[in-house]
């Protein structure tokens, strides 16, 4: 078991954003996380990555209890993430952005600064941004920022990557390229993927298993085909039948 959550809850004042969620992800799995807006998907991701501390419950990663750990420790243990709205280091070049990931992630005491930048250029090449390596991140397009985040997440040499809506705001052509890139990433780096996505078609094709959140609670988990035909899920997304 790579990631295990047991009865994890998070409240913001009177609002329970995540309510008693338990889930497990095996090594090498591609797990989709779906749910309507405000279901608590991003909050769950923030709890795993250490952004928020849960009010109750236990989070374990690779046998280590990471409940309430700082994000940098979580990252060094092997969990990396992207953001729903890209958050690059705007005043750094694309190369330096990925360089931060290389130097910050896995402990590599013998890697020099030059070696780290060389390594970063490899990840930029992988996502197709090598020619933009000396461009400041603030000058990149939305698609470029999304793939830059993927490169930065990969650069930390994670065991698990959590992707938060890689397709949001992209046009159909860019979205296709982004999806293709995620598939290549899975093939080449054999990483485990925890993927939040609104576009059901993409999750249906890519994920081996889908977890559904609704009002902060896990209401279903299983193979995508089964889950989308579950009446509870249809009700959560479309509402109850009027007649």
């Amino acid at each position: 078991m790579l990631l295990k959550l047991e009865k994890v809850s998070k409240n913001f004042g009177g609002l329970t954003a995540v309510n008693d969620v338990s889930l497990a992800i095996e090594k090498g799995e591609i797990v989709g996380l779906i749910g309507p807006n405000g279901a608590g998907k991003t909050t769950l991701m923030n709890l795993i990555s250490g952004y928020y501390k849960p009010n109750s419950g236990v989070i374990e990663f690779d046998g280590v209890d990471i409940t309430g750990s700082e994000p940098d420790r979580v990252c060094r243990l092997g969990i990396s993430r992207t953001f729903q709205i890209p958050r690059p280091f705007p005043d750094l070049t694309a190369l330096a952005n990925v360089g931060v990931g290389v130097l910050g992630g896995k402990h590599r005491p013998h890697m020099s600064f030059g070696d780290a930048l060389l390594n970063a250029s490899h990840y930029l090449e992988f996502v197709g941004l090598f020619r933009k390596r000396n461009t400041l991140a603030r000058d990149l397009t939305l698609y470029e920022l999304r793939v830059l985040e993927l490169a930065r997440a990969l650069a930390t040499t994670p065991k698990l990557i959590m992707i938060d809506e890689v397709m949001a705001g992209l046009n159909p052509g860019e979205a296709r390229r982004a999806i293709h890139l995620v598939h290549r990433m899975i093939d080449e780096y054999q990483i485990t993927l925890f993927w939040i996505e609104h576009v059901m078609k993409v999750i249906m094709e890519a994920a081996q298993r889908v977890i559904v959140l609704h009002y902060g609670q896990k209401i279903a988990s299983g193979p995508p085909r089964e889950v989308v035909n579950d009446p509870k899920i249809i009700e959560a997304y479309l509402g109850e039948k009027i007649a």
Binding site: S49, G50, Y51, E70, P71, D72, C75, R76, S80, R81, F83, R87, P88, F89, P90, D91, L92, T93, L95, A96, G99, V100, G101, L103, G104, G105, K106, F113, G114, A116, L117, L118, S121, R133, N134, L136, R152, T156
Partner: protein
């Protein structure tokens, strides 16, 4: 190299003018405070409004040791460095606990409390008049030689600080500083232990600023809290950083020389210069948003960001 050679030759060219030599030394002291502050601003992601606190720590430590124990400048230097490192380490959790405006307010108050301290304990710090009789940096028979050598020593101190900061900023620590300055939360997500790097940055830069205070004390032979600790000195340093270009190490030198020379040039206006000096600086703040160095960088920014270098084996 050309700029360094120019700065080194300048005191020799104007060696018959002690006023100008003193002005160059002052500019170098300003730059020695502003350069580490430029790194600190980026490295802790916060604006320190009290860099003069450590100028005071350095100056008073050197002065008290020199006056009471008869220590020379090269003996007091090590105590200044060690003491400021220790004190900065104690204060460094502020860079983690206090964010944004709170950090700025706390650091703003620190030197003012220190100033009050110098008034309350007049028997130690001599309040308004300050401490005098501090061992000079160099002592030659000719006064003019003293000025020229001191000016060169100030340049050496400033360049040593510049070299160290520049080397650090071109290493991985520079990249960490830039990442922390851009987005602390994302830097954490990338695995950086930002608390550790902020503490290291604050501690080292504070010690460097204290060295500028040490130099000022031994150069002038007197050290008064009222000269360095109140707000006018802070305003000068902050303006040097902003006019040079926020977070720009080389810009700090340009800014320091610009502010020192402007301040001197305006004295011909008489008492009006007290108003004219801040007024001109304010106008420059609005017109040069990216600082003097920023004008140059706008067109050539790439060379200041890490580019890939492959080592030949």
């Amino acid at each position: 190299m050309i700029a360094v050679a120019g700065l080194a030759l300048l005191p020799l060219v104007i060696m018959s003018q002690p006023d100008y030599l003193s002005l160059l030394t002052t500019a170098n002291i300003y730059a020695a405070v502003a350069i580490p502050l430029a790194w600190q601003t980026a490295g802790i992601g916060r604006m320190n409004f009290g860099p003069q606190f450590f100028v005071g720590i350095g100056g008073f430590t050197a002065a008290l040791l020199s006056i009471h124990l008869g220590w020379g400048p090269w003996s007091t230097l090590w105590v200044v460095i060690l003491l400021s490192l220790g004190l900065a380490l104690i204060l460094s959790p502020l860079t983690i606990i206090a964010r944004g405006l709170y950090f700025s307010l706390i650091t703003l108050v620190l030197p003012l409390i220190f100033l009050e301290f110098t008034y309350v304990y007049t028997n130690i710090f001599q309040g308004e008049t300050g401490l005098s009789g501090i061992a000079p940096l160099v002592q030659f028979d000719k006064i003019l030689t003293n000025y020229v050598v001191s000016c060169h020593l100030s340049l050496v101190m400033m360049l040593a600080i510049l070299y160290a900061v520049d080397k650090i900023l071109r290493s991985r620590i520079g990249l960490y500083a830039a990442a922390i300055n851009d987005d602390e939360d994302v830097a954490k997500t990338c695995g950086l232990n930002i608390n550790r790097w902020k503490i290291i940055c604050f501690t080292i830069t504070s010690a460097m600023i204290a060295v500028a205070g040490w130099f000022a004390a031994h150069y002038y032979g007197t050290f008064a809290g009222v000269t360095y600790l109140p707000l006018p000195f802070l305003v000068k340093i902050l303006l040097i950083n902003i006019i040079g270009g926020r977070g720009e190490v080389y810009g700090s030198i340009v800014g320091a020389y610009f502010v020192a020379f402007l301040e001197q040039a305006l004295t011909i206006l008489g008492p009006v210069h007290y108003i004219a000096f801040p007024f001109i600086l304010l106008v420059l703040l609005f017109t040069l948003r990216e600082g003097l160095y920023g004008i140059y960088r706008k067109h050539k920014y790439r060379e200041y960001y890490p580019t890939m270098r492959v080592r030949k084996r």
